[in-house]
């Protein structure tokens, strides 16, 4: 056996040292406050207040036991004034028998992702996991067992489920191991470098694949069971369907170099060589090597994967999220926290109970789900910080881009170097093929020997049987010497014995010959080794520059990944800040919009006042015009009357004048006529006063006319004033219209800007949640939901006596009185028994609420099937109507007491006044059907969003 030098080690360690991943840590100080310090230091946004006692109790009980506290426990905890009662509660729950049962469920789903059981039953597997958590088996040990078990050792057979129930399919195992144990979903890197994740290379996939490629399922016909077998040869080769780049890779762990593997000569490479119906066991197992190297504390990706997954399990979201997409462009929300918990966890020798305890004691875990108010200082600070962070991001991105270029260049060098290996590789392969040819007689001889051995054994068995029969027959012949038939039989047996002895001798001779042939072939094989050994040595020599090139690439690549991670983290921070700035801007816009409303309203009011004032003026002027109109009418009337009087008088005067003229004419024809002369005189006498009267009337008429003209002038002036006033009025009304528009615009701007604020808040709520400042609202997983429904309605405890009785058969209560450890074991067994009793009930939930087999078990979905099951399926209604809870409620009289018992049992909190009032109302309204009313009250709480999400 020759061993290749582990040339990669120095490089690896220098990388580790450079990035401080394995800095010396001290576990003396409790971890929880250190996590909180780091979270606080990195907090961009505000943090939620700590959850109330009831919320904490519900949360931590569900998270540590997968179950709800009883109303008795809830009351006791809520009313307990002990300052450190939360810590005491955590320790109680960690010591509870439900802790291992729940953690086994969690790890079952995490590792098997609800795949159907094929070789290891769920019960065997969960029992194995439960025992691991009872004993607080370290995670490295657990992972080692799971990755390396071949299913032979009964104690470790369940651990082989991970591989066996994936049918030992190497692609599936490469993919799931990379995801589940290393947090990298490499699926898309099987046929080419990952198209969407820059940092997942095809060689990463095939490096993982190589660990599993030699493992197969072996069905043992005799035992009617399958185990895992492994061969000693087979290498992972790849060819990119995009670039055509092709090569071979030995196994490699994420971030590390290809393994330096021992070489065994053909014929010396198996502990148990492959043959028909034989489970082959190589001297060097790649799968065992994976288990060993992944868990030895040095592979960072293995370590951060589990701490991140445990963090996600308890915090509701991974520091790296999704938990199987660790890569530089998806950096952790808090890189320093991930480093801290990972380093400490490794220093604490992968102690899961310790880490879980520290995690649930952090303030981060205890945050409320209630969103904090807008944090003005943080928003303002974000505005200040953004340019600095942005500049830093640009700088870091520049560094990452540069190191990417450098890494790509080195990668090309490595690819080019790889080609130079081809002759040495071909020569070695040819040499090995030659050895295989020489080895064939050895194998054939072994097969033949085995066949001879089988034949020999059969022959010996026959000889023994014949010998026994012959002895008996000889004895009988002695007793009955005259019996010919017996004598004949003795002769026959004797002949047979002789024949068989000869045949056996022949077989033995054959065996000797075959052994000699085998030995001879073996010698030949030994003679055949040196050329292959030499070819291999030459290959190793030829590979040195390539190994060096690959190592160089790995250093450059890891450097780039580290750079990219820094840039990615900075980008994340920048995006957070930008969201805060955006909200700040939106709030300012909303405030400005809101503030803008009042001044515009004031302007509108002023304009409206001006209109009102002008209205007064217009009214005044209108009145004046009207009055003047009246005066005008009067003056016109007076003029008209005087005119009429004058015209009438004028007419009379005219008649008199005409009469005088006509009489004068008559007098001229009748000169001196006395009568006529008298008439003329009289007429002339009449004319004088009449003419005077007419002149007076005319004067009066002229006066009235002047008066009327005067009034008309005044009226015209007044009307002009009115026109001016009306015009002003129109102007002012226009101003009101335009001001009204402005007000409307200002008012309309408010909801738009407020919507921007609301959407900014939603975005920030998510960011704060992702940044661990606010508790994630996450659903109960299917098992938690089932157990919470069972426990709250009170159908778990009735199973206890039966479970107790069952366990009493093996561990009597009397036997544990003086043995606390045994008492604990007994307690666990009872809890486990109850768990099994309810498996069917729980399965009904996992079928509906669990994801399809495969990745994504933590993703949320709500379906009509679920709602129909809860609404109309028998289970939940039956439990609500027939469990111990309703049994406790029935005798209670006060609605307040009923509400309290119900809310404590189902929602782990006391009801508020509105809830008490609602309960009272329901019970009063449905007094005639009290059991149904209580059942429906319980049902409504169990189906509420609070029950489904709050913990």
């Amino acid at each position: 056996m020759t061993t290749r030098l582990p040339a990669c080690c120095l490089i690896l360690f220098s990388f580790v040292a450079a990035t401080g991943r394995l800095a010396v840590v001290s576990a003396a100080e409790p971890l929880a406050p250190r996590i909180d310090q780091l979270i606080d230091a990195g907090q961009v946004g505000p943090v939620a207040s700590l959850a109330s006692d009831s919320e904490f109790l519900r949360r931590v009980t569900l998270d540590l036991t997968g179950d709800l506290p009883s109303s008795v426990e809830a009351r006791a905890f809520l009313d307990d004034a002990t300052p450190n009662k939360r810590e005491l509660l955590v320790d109680r729950l960690l010591a509870s028998p439900r802790y291992p049962i729940h953690m086994a469920n969690v790890f079952d789903v995490m590792l098997m992702e609800r795949r159907p059981a094929t070789h290891v039953t769920v019960i065997e597997w969960q029992k194995y996991l439960q025992e691991a958590f009872v004993a607080n088996k370290s995670y490295d040990q657990l992972a080692r067992e799971i990755l390396s078990s071949d299913g032979v050792d009964p104690a470790l057979r369940p651990a082989a489920k991970f591989v066996m129930d994936r049918a030992a399919e190497p692609n599936l195992l490469a993919r799931d191991t990379a995801r589940v144990f290393f947090g990298m979903d490499l699926q898309c890197a099987q046929c080419h470098d990952h198209p969407l994740v820059d940092h997942y290379l095809q060689t990463d996939y095939h490096g993982m694949y190589a660990f599993f490629q030699r493992t197969t399922l072996f069905a043992d016909a005799a035992q009617k069971k399958s185990f895992l077998a492994e061969t000693s040869h087979g290498d992972a080769s790849y060819k990119s369907v995009f670039t055509g780049d092709a090569g071979q890779t030995r196994p490699r762990l994420p971030g590390e170099n290809e393994l330096d593997e021992p070489r065994f000569r053909q014929g010396e490479d198996y502990s148990v060589a492959p043959a028909a119906n034989v489970r082959s066991v190589p001297k060097y197992s790649r799968r065992a090597k994976l288990a060993e190297l992944a868990t030895n504390g040095t592979n960072r990706q293995f370590n951060v994967n589990i701490t991140n997954r445990l963090w996600a399990q308890f915090m509701g979201r991974g520091l790296v999220h999704p938990v199987d997409l660790h890569h530089p462009d998806n950096p952790p929300s808090h890189p320093a926290v991930l480093d801290l918990i990972t380093n400490e966890f490794v220093a604490m020798k992968y102690d899961m109970r310790w880490l879980v305890r520290e995690l649930v004691l952090t303030k981060t875990y205890q945050r409320s789900i209630d969103l904090p108010a807008d944090p003005a200082p943080q928003l303002a600070a974000a505005v200040q910080q953004t340019p600095v962070v942005e500049a830093e991001h640009v700088r870091l991105k520049g560094i990452a881009d540069a190191s990417r270029k450098a890494a790509d260049a080195v990668r090309e060098e490595w690819k080019a170097a790889r080609k130079t290996l081809e002759p040495a590789e071909a020569a070695w392969k040819a040499a090995e093929a030659e050895v295989a040819k020489i080895k064939k007689p050895v194998d054939d001889a072994l097969v033949a020997l085995a066949a001879t051995a089988v034949a020999t054994t059969a022959k010996q068995t026959a000889i023994t049987a014949v010998n026994e029969a012959a002895a008996k027959t000889t004895e009988a012949a002695k007793l009955l010497p005259a019996d010919k038939e017996l004598a004949g039989a003795v002769a026959t047996f004797t002949a047979k014995q002789t024949q068989l002895a000869m045949e056996l001798a022949a077989l033995q001779k054959q065996a000797t010959d075959q052994t000699a042939a085998h030995a001879a072939a073996g010698v030949k094989l030994t003679e055949g080794y040196p050329p292959a050994d030499a070819a291999y040595a030459a290959l190793v020599e030829a590979a040195k520059p390539i190994d060096a090139a690959r190592a160089k690439f790995l250093v450059a690549w890891n450097q780039h990944k580290a750079d990219a991670a820094l840039a990615g983290a900075q980008k994340k921070k920048l995006e957070q800040l930008q969201a805060h700035v955006a909200l700040n801007t939106a709030i300012a816009s909303a405030a400005a919009a809101q503030a803008a409303v009042e001044p515009t309203k004031a302007e509108l009011a002023a304009a409206m006042l001006a209109v009102e004032q002008q209205q007064v003026e217009v009214t005044k002027q209108t009145t004046a015009v009207a009055e003047m109109d009246k005066v005008m009418v009067e003056a016109t009337k007076l003029f008209d009357e005087s005119k009429v009087a004058f015209v009438a008088k004028q007419g009379v005067v005219q008649s008199v004048v005409e009469a005088i003229a006509k009489t004068d004419a008559v007098l001229a024809k009748l000169p001196g006529d006395a009568e006529i002369t008298l008439v003329v005189a009289k007429l002339k006498e009449k004319h004088e006063p009449l003419a005077k009267e007419a002149a007076t009337l005319e004067q009066a008429m002229v006066a009235k006319d002047a008066a009327a003209k005067d009034v008309a002038g005044k009226l015209a002036a007044l009307k002009q004033t009115l026109v001016v006033a009306t015009t002003e009025m129109a102007t002012r009304q226009q101003t009101v219209t335009s001001k009204t528009n402005i007000v409307n615009q200002a008012v309309a701007a408010v909801p738009t800007t407020q919507a921007a604020v609301a959407s900014g808040r939603v975005q920030l709520a998510e960011l704060w949640t992702n940044a661990a400042g606010v508790r994630v609202l996450k659903q109960l997983n299917p098992e938690q939901l089932a157990w919470a429904a069972l426990q709250s309605t009170g159908v778990v405890e009735p199973q206890r006596p039966g479970a107790e009785a069952e366990i009493e058969k093996t561990i009597p209560k009397a036997s544990v009185a003086a043995d606390p450890a045994l008492a604990k074991t007994r307690e666990f067994k009872v809890a486990s028994q109850i768990h099994e009793i309810h498996r069917g009930n729980v399965n009904a939930f996992t079928l509906l609420y669990g994801g399809s087999a495969g990745p994504g078990q933590d993703d949320f979905f709500a379906s009509v099937d679920q709602a129909l099951f809860v609404a109309n399926g028998g289970s939940v209604i039956g439990w609500a109507g027939g469990g111990q809870l309703i049994g406790r409620l029935m005798p209670l009289i006060e609605p307040k007491a009923i509400a309290e018992e119900m809310y404590l049992s189902v929602l782990t909190r006391r009801p508020n006044d509105a809830e008490i009032a609602e309960t009272t109302h329901q019970l009063t309204a449905r007094a005639a059907e009290r059991p149904a009313a209580l059942r429906d009250l319980i049902w409504a709480l169990v189906t509420s969003a609070e029950f489904r999400f709050n913990h």
Binding site: V762, G854, A871
Partner: protein, 428 residues
């Protein structure tokens, strides 16, 4: 009935749209488009635009020679004649006299080569549009259609399988999640838990739901997310489904229709399929068993097709008469075809190399015939396609852009195999 915090008013719709828009940009880890909440009621117009897919799975492997690609008078042709159809120049096997009259509404692909002769692998390839890869589960056509085409606001299941027996949910939706898994109506039975139990009176049911909503409102005033919306909405959808439970009851169809489809199981299943399609179910698949005729191929196909031809032709004609064919894709497929060679038991064996699929409706060009096989039917000679091309074609026929991806927990996964594409000449 809607919960009172989701009254469907414009204001809520607006706020929620913005809210969900933000959510979509952030957490991707929520199955099911949440756009449902932004839509108020399903209008008749929407219902008309709703696309549907109706698949007939000829379980066991329908012989292309006894159906869509007859080769009468050749050594491989078998005893049956070819008959004229409503499409001039297109002939099919004489076992399909009724379907022959509907061929102007349908199209044939005669050049399918999936190269898969195993029942399990064959049907998986045909139903997922991808060849099986170890460790990779892909969602079936029904799940993909339900996810990509369904109206999320509807309480009705998007993906229904009508089979001779069984019930419950299939496990065929892979990463799309159980919501889109096939709901089996074993022998036409309605889905589970759709009847209110006797113990809960109607009034009590209303009251308990009102209490549930009130409890939700109290809690959601503290914190509300897309998840809580999806959860509370699922109960409202459940009630919608219960209210429409009759759509699963084929006995509600007229006596005349029941007689037209035939009172045998397949007739009932086809009539139920029509009822479901008319009720707005997105994907309905009817299985007809069994065409795996390794012996007595001609007798078996005669019997099976004798049962299938009339109800199938009836549903094609009914959907056309109702104006639904434009929005409904119909596919008749199998896991593979059958060997041109007739074996010594007068049977035909598994044959994935050169066989046919029938389809029509949606964007499919009526009367089209794509691809050819040689005279004996042993090789594809023109326009060879496989399950990948067909899968793209089905989806494109109902308006799905198959170059897009689903967002699964933040990871984009292509809707259909990016290495394949739709059969352009089949798509109008």
């Amino acid at each position: 009935m809607r919960c009172n915090y989701a009254c469907g008013s414009g204001e809520h719709t607006m706020a929620r749209r913005q809210f969900l828009g933000t959510m979509a940009a952030g957490t991707g880890a929520i199955f099911g488009g949440m756009s449902m909440l932004a839509r108020p009621a399903i209008s008749a117009e929407l219902n008309k635009q709703q696309k549907r897919v109706l698949v007939f799975n000829m379980h066991g492997g329908l012989s292309q020679l006894e159906s869509w690609d007859p080769k009468p008078g050749t050594p491989t042709g078998g005893p049956f004649r070819a008959i004229n159809t409503s499409v001039p120049g297109t002939q099919i096997c004489e076992l399909w006299p009724e379907t022959a009259k509907q061929m102007h509404r349908l199209a044939i692909v005669r050049s399918v080569n999936t190269g898969e002769d195993d029942h399990g692998k064959g049907i998986k390839a045909m139903m997922t549009g991808r060849r099986e890869m170890p460790g990779v589960e892909n969602p079936s056509l029904g799940a993909v259609v339900a996810k990509a085409v369904s109206n999320e606001a509807s309480g009705l299941p998007g993906h229904i399988q009508i089979t001779a027996g069984g019930g419950g949910r299939a496990n065929d939706s892979a990463y799309l999640g159980p919501k889109y898994a096939g709901l089996y109506l074993g022998n036409g039975q309605p889905p589970a838990n759709t009847v209110r139990p006797d113990a809960i009176a109607a009034a009590a049911d209303e009251q308990r739901n009102a209490m549930r909503r009130a409890a939700n409102e109290r809690f959601l005033s503290r914190r509300r997310t897309a998840m809580t919306d999806a959860y509370t909405y699922s109960y409202e959808q459940a009630q919608q489904l219960m209210a429409q439970r009759d759509i699963f009851d084929v006995s509600k169809e007229s006596e005349a229709d029941q007689a037209r489809y035939g009172k045998h199981d397949l007739g009932r299943h086809c009539l139920l399929a029509r009822r479901l399609i008319e009720s707005g179910i997105t994907y309905v698949q009817v299985s007809h068993s069994n065409y795996d005729s390794h012996n007595e191929n001609f007798i078996f196909h005669g019997e099976q097709i004798g049962e299938f031809d009339r109800p199938f032709a009836t549903i094609v004609s009914d959907l056309a008469d109702r104006g639904l064919l434009e929005s409904t894709l119909i596919v008749v497929l199998s896991e593979f075809g059958r060997t041109p060679n007739i074996n010594h038991l007068v049977g035909r064996d598994h044959w994935g190399k050169a066989w046919s699929v029938l389809l029509g409706g949606g964007r499919i060009v009526p009367g089209a015939v794509v691809g050819k096989t040689n005279d004996k039917g042993t090789e594809v000679t023109d326009r060879q396609v496989d399950h990948g091309h067909l899968f793209h074609t089905y989806l494109q026929a109902v308006g799905v852009d198959t170059s897009k991806s689903f967002d699964i927990g933040g990871r984009p996964i292509p809707i259909a195999d990016p290495a394949a594409s739709g059969i352009k000449e089949l798509l109008a």
